[in-house]
C-alpha cells in the first residue's frame, strides 16, 4: 500500500520536472498565427490539462482524478483521454505477458529439474540456458524477426494484426492476431525459459545435497521420490524469484514491443516519451506499477497457499 502511494507520488512528480511545457508543445502543434488566439488557446489548454491551479492542488486533483479512473488527456493524440488509449493497449500486454511468464516459468522449472545431475542433458542445458538468459530481449526479438520473419517469411514482423483488417470477431481476424502475437511471445518466452531452467537446476542441486535428501536416500527411497521432494522445495525460491523478476520481464516486454511495433503499453510509452506527452507517460507508468503490484500480491497469496510455514508466520508475528 505504501509502495503504491510512493509510486503514485513519483509518478506525479517526474513528468513535472521534465523539460518542455505540454501547453507550449500543443501550441506548436496547432501552429496558430494570431498572437491573440495563441493567448486564448494557451488559456484553454492550461485549463484542459489542469495546470492552472497551484501545485499542491494539482497533486490533490491528481489523486482525486485517479480514483475516478481519470488520467487526463493525452498531449500528442490530443482530444483522446489517456485511460482510453491505455485500455486499448492493455489487452495486448495481458495476452503477451501472462502466457509468456507462466509458460516460461513452468517449462523452465520442469526442464531445469529434469536436467539437473543428468550429465548429458545438464551439459547441453547449461550453455543453452546461460546463453538464453544472457540475451538482451531486443536482440532475440531482432534475430527472430530477421530469421523467421524476413528470411523465411513465416511470420509478420510488425503490428498486432494485418493492416487491412479492423478488429472484429472472426476466425480470420483471430488467426491474424495469433500470427502476429507469436514471435513477440516467443522472444519473451525463450529468454525467461533459459533463466528459470538455470535457476531451477542450481537450486535443486542444493536441495539434492541437503541432509533430508541424503537421509531419504539412505532409507532406500527411490530416486524419483527424492527428486520429487527436492523439486517441491526448490520451487519456493523460484516463486519468490518470479516476484523479483517481474520488473525485468516487464522491461523486456517493453523493448520487445518496440522491435515488433506491437501496440502494447511499452509501445505507447515510447511514443509518449518521444512526444513529451506528460500525461500519457504518467498513465503508462501507473499501469505498469499497478500491474506489477497486482502480480506481486497474487504471488504472495500463492506463496501462502503452497508454503504452510508462511501461514504460521503470518498469524504469529503480524504485530
Amino acid at each position: 500500500m505504501l509502495t503504491f502511494f510512493i509510486a503514485v507520488t513519483i509518478d506525479w512528480l517526474i513528468p513535472r520536472f521534465m523539460p518542455g511545457d505540454p501547453v507550449q508543445s500543443m501550441l506548436g502543434r496547432v501552429r496558430v498565427a494570431h498572437p491573440e488566439s495563441v493567448e486564448a488557446m494557451r488559456g484553454f489548454f492550461t485549463n484542459a490539462f489542469g495546470l492552472d491551479v497551484p501545485v499542491w492542488q494539482q497533486y490533490l486533483n491528481f489523486w482525486a482524478a485517479l480514483f475516478r479512473g481519470d488520467l487526463g488527456i493525452s498531449v500528442y493524440r490530443f482530444p483522446q483521454r489517456v485511460t482510453e488509449i491505455l485500455l486499448t493497449a492493455v489487452p495486448y500486454d495481458v495476452a503477451l505477458l501472462v502466457p509468456a511468464i507462466l509458460l516460461s516459468w513452468w517449462a523452465g522449472n520442469k526442464f531445469g529439474a529434469y536436467a539437473a545431475r543428468r550429465r548429458l542433458l545438464d551439459n547441453t542445458l547449461l550453455p543453452l540456458g546461460y546463453t538464453l538468459t544472457a540475451t538482451p530481449y531486443m536482440w532475440l526479438a531482432i534475430l527472430l524477426a530477421w530469421g523467421l520473419g524476413i528470411k523465411l517469411d513465416l511470420f509478420p514482423i510488425a503490428g498486432a494484426y494485418a493492416y487491412d483488417m479492423a478488429p472484429h470477431w472472426s476466425l480470420r481476424f483471430i488467426g491474424s492476431v495469433l500470427h502476429h502475437w507469436f514471435l513477440t511471445f516467443a522472444s519473451l518466452f525463450l529468454v525467461g525459459f533459459g533463466g528459470w531452467a538455470i535457476g531451477m537446476r542450481n537450486t535443486i542441486i542444493y536441495e539434492l545435497e541437503a541432509d533430508y535428501s541424503h537421509y531419504l536416500e539412505a532409507l532406500g527411497a527411490p530416486q524419483k521420490l527424492v527428486r520429487k521432494y527436492a523439486f517441491r522445495n526448490a520451487l519456493l525460491p523460484q516463486l519468490s524469484g518470479l516476484a523479483l523478476q517481474l520488473g525485468v520481464i516487464v522491461a523486456g516486454a517493453l523493448v520487445t514491443e518496440v522491435v515488433f511495433s506491437y501496440p502494447g503499453i511499452g509501445y505507447q510509452l515510447l511514443a509518449a516519451i518521444q512526444n513529451q506527452d506528460y500525461f500519457l507517460i504518467q498513465g503508462c507508468f501507473l499501469f505498469i506499477i499497478m500491474g506489477v503490484l497486482m502480480a506481486n500480491f497474487i504471488i504472495d497469496i500463492v506463496f501462502v497457499i503452497v508454503d504452510p510455514r508462511t501461514r504460521r508466520g503470518m498469524t504469529g508475528e503480524t504485530a
Binding site: 513519483i10 521534465m18 536482440w139 542441486i205 523479483l244 522491461a251 523493448v255 506499477i289
Partner: protein
C-alpha cells in the same frame, strides 16, 4: 590461511566453467581496450562513401559498414568500452549500496533492519526500468557515467537482500559470539570475523550486478534514452532497427552488438557458477 588460498586457486584453475567464462570476458575486455587503436575511423563518422561494404571483404572496414558508411568494427569496439564502463560503474555502485544497506540491516537487526527492509522492498517492486526510462527522457544531456549511476541506484535492492541474508547467517555463527564475549569492538568483529567470509559472496554479487547493469544499459540505449554522445552496443541495435537493417539484410550491423552482449553476460553468469563451485565444495562436479 595461505594453504586455503592455494586450494582455491587450484580448484579455480581446474574448473572448466570458470576457465571458459573468464576467457570469454577477458577476450572482449582486451578487444575493448586495444580494439580502438586498430582503427582510425570515428564510430559515428560517415567515413565511407559509395556502396556499403560487406563484412570481411575489405581491410579498412573489417566488419563492413552501415547503410551510411559508418565503420561497424569501430562502433563495436567503442561500444564494448561503453559496455564495460557501465557494467563496472553501475554494477559496482549497486553492489556498494547493496552492501551498505544489506549489511547494516543484517548486522544491526531490529528497527534499522525493518526500516531498511521496507525501503528495499519498495525499490524492489517499482519496475526500475520504467523509472530509468522516465528519468533519462527528462535529462537532455546524458553521459555514460550518469547512466551508470542511475542504473546502479536502481539495481541495488536485490544485492541488499542477498547480503542481508548472508550477514544474518554469518552473525549467528559461534566464532562471532565468541569474539563478542571476548570484548572485541564491532568494527573489529566485522573486519576480522565477518568480512573474510563475505568476500567470496560479494564477488559473486558483483559479477551478477555487472551483467545486469550491462543488460539494463543495452535496453535503455536501444530505446534511445541512453547517453546522448558516443556509441554503445544498444545504440547500434537501435540504429540498425530504425534504419531497417532487417529488411535490407544488413546482418553484420545488428548481429555483432547483440552477440557481444550475450557472450559477455553469459560468460559472466558461467563464471559466477564456476566461482560458486570453487568456494562451495558441495557443488563441485563429482
Amino acid at each position: 590461511m595461505k594453504k586455503t588460498k592455494n586450494e582455491f586457486l587450484y580448484f579455480a584453475f581446474r574448473n572448466n566453467k570458470l576457465r571458459i567464462g573468464v576467457s570469454i570476458v577477458l577476450f572482449f575486455l582486451v578487444l575493448a581496450i586495444i580494439g580502438p587503436f586498430f582503427t582510425e575511423n570515428e564510430p559515428l563518422d560517415f567515413v565511407h562513401r559509395g556502396a556499403p561494404v560487406r563484412p570481411f571483404t575489405s581491410r579498412e572496414y573489417l566488419l563492413g559498414t552501415t547503410v551510411f558508411g559508418q565503420d561497424v568494427y569501430s562502433q563495436l569496439v567503442y561500444g564494448l568500452r561503453a559496455t564495460f564502463i557501465v557494467g563496472a560503474v553501475g554494477g559496482g555502485l549497486a553492489t556498494l549500496i547493496g552492501v551498505i544497506v544489506g549489511f547494516t540491516a543484517g548486522y544491526r537487526g531490529g528497527e534499522a533492519d525493518e526500516a531498511l527492509n521496507m525501503l528495499t522492498n519498495i525499490v524492489l517492486v517499482i519496475p526500475t526500468l520504467a523509472v530509468l526510462l522516465i528519468i533519462s527522457a527528462y535529462l537532455e544531456v546524458r553521459g555514460i557515467l550518469l547512466e551508470s549511476v542511475f542504473i546502479g541506484c536502481a539495481a541495488w535492492p536485490w544485492a541488499a537482500r542477498a547480503i542481508r541474508a548472508q550477514t544474518f547467517s554469518l552473525r549467528s555463527r559461534d566464532s562471532v559470539d565468541l569474539a563478542k564475549l571476548s570484548g572485541k569492538s564491532s568494527a573489529k568483529i566485522i573486519f576480522t570475523e565477518i568480512a573474510p567470509n563475505m568476500m567470496s559472496y560479494l564477488l559473486l554479487v558483483f559479477i551478477l550486478q555487472f551483467g545486469g547493469a550491462t543488460l539494463n544499459a543495452a535496453t535503455l540505449d536501444f530505446i534511445g534514452v541512453g547517453p546522448t554522445e558516443g556509441i554503445s552496443l544498444g545504440l547500434m541495435m537501435n540504429h540498425a532497427v530504425s534504419h531497417s537493417a532487417l529488411l535490407l539484410d544488413f546482418w553484420w550491423w545488428f548481429i555483432p552488438p547483440g552477440l557481444a552482449i550475450t557472450a559477455i553476460v553469459g560468460a559472466l553468469y558461467v563464471t559466477n557458477v564456476g566461482l560458486d563451485e570453487v568456494f562451495n565444495p558441495k557443488l563441485r562436479e563429482m
